[in-house]
Amino acid sequence: MKRSILPILCCPVCKGDLVLTVTVGDEQVIREGKLHCPVCRVDYPIEDGIPDLLPRDRSV
């Protein structure tokens, strides 16, 4: 994923801001990492450049 889309992303549940951690990537592209929601205390993984922002609870 490009870093340029980060400003539009939020937690799918509480709609709050997410905290990014990059494990593989550069100044423009993130390949692996996670987006953390401090309110819901959930980590949303970024794998192969795709952020997985599905709610962990299917009922949401």
Binding site: D48, P51, L53, L54, V60
Partner: protein, 190 residues
């Protein structure tokens, strides 16, 4: 779960567009007629394998199926795994949303329209396209079983029902084009 069908048979889903190119091109053409010029804040909700977003110039997509996410990514879409009823997008961050043949697969279409309304800036556009209940395409699938693996679990809606969802969730319908069992509605956030 329907999502599992799209994971397992993503290749079959994607091949449909090559095997039914005339039908696909007609749907594309009709969407193009009402689609405002996409910009960097345009997004397709339920982007699938990118078959609509790519030719229509939309660069960002939301998709719940991991397999379809990868196909869309390979076609150059900036893809985010997510659900229409719980969009991982901030308030007012999108200028245009495209929503093609998705509502029939949702448990709660109205929740999805509310979420799209929240994420659109004002006045943002939503282009919704869907197979009309008991229209030509729906009847054909019932008779011949084409796309049956996917559509057998789908729930279809009439033009009036979708228009009602849009009005109830804060949209104003600007244009409706229903032909051959496929409806395209252009709506604007009010």
């Amino acid at each position: 779960m329907l999502q599992d069908v799209f994971e397992e048979y993503a290749g079959d889903y994607d091949r449909w567009f090559d095997e039914h190119n005339d039908e696909y091109q007609k749907e594309l053409s009709r969407i193009r007629q009402v689609l405002p010029s996409p910009d960097s804040r345009s997004i397709e909700i339920g982007v699938g394998s990118g078959r609509f977003a790519v030719p229509l110039g939309i660069r960002i997509g939301i998709e719940p199926s991991r397999a379809l996410c990868r196909m869309a990514q390979a076609r150059g879409i900036e893809v985010i795994r997510g659900r229409a009823e719980a969009l991982p997008l901030g308030d007012g961050c999108c200028s245009l949303a495209l929503f093609v043949t998705v509502i029939c697969f949702l448990d709660n279409p109205e929740a999805a329209f509310r979420e799209i309304h929240r994420t659109l800036s004002s006045p943002g556009y939503l282009i919704t396209a869907f197979i009309v209940r008991e229209g030509k395409i729906h009847r054909k699938y019932l008779r011949e079983g084409g796309k049956g693996r996917f559509l057998s679990r789908a729930r279809f809606y009439s033009q009036e029902e979708v228009s009602s969802f849009l009005k109830e969730t804060g949209f104003e319908v600007r244009d409706i084009d229903t032909r051959s069992g496929f409806c395209v509605i252009a709506a604007q956030k009010v």
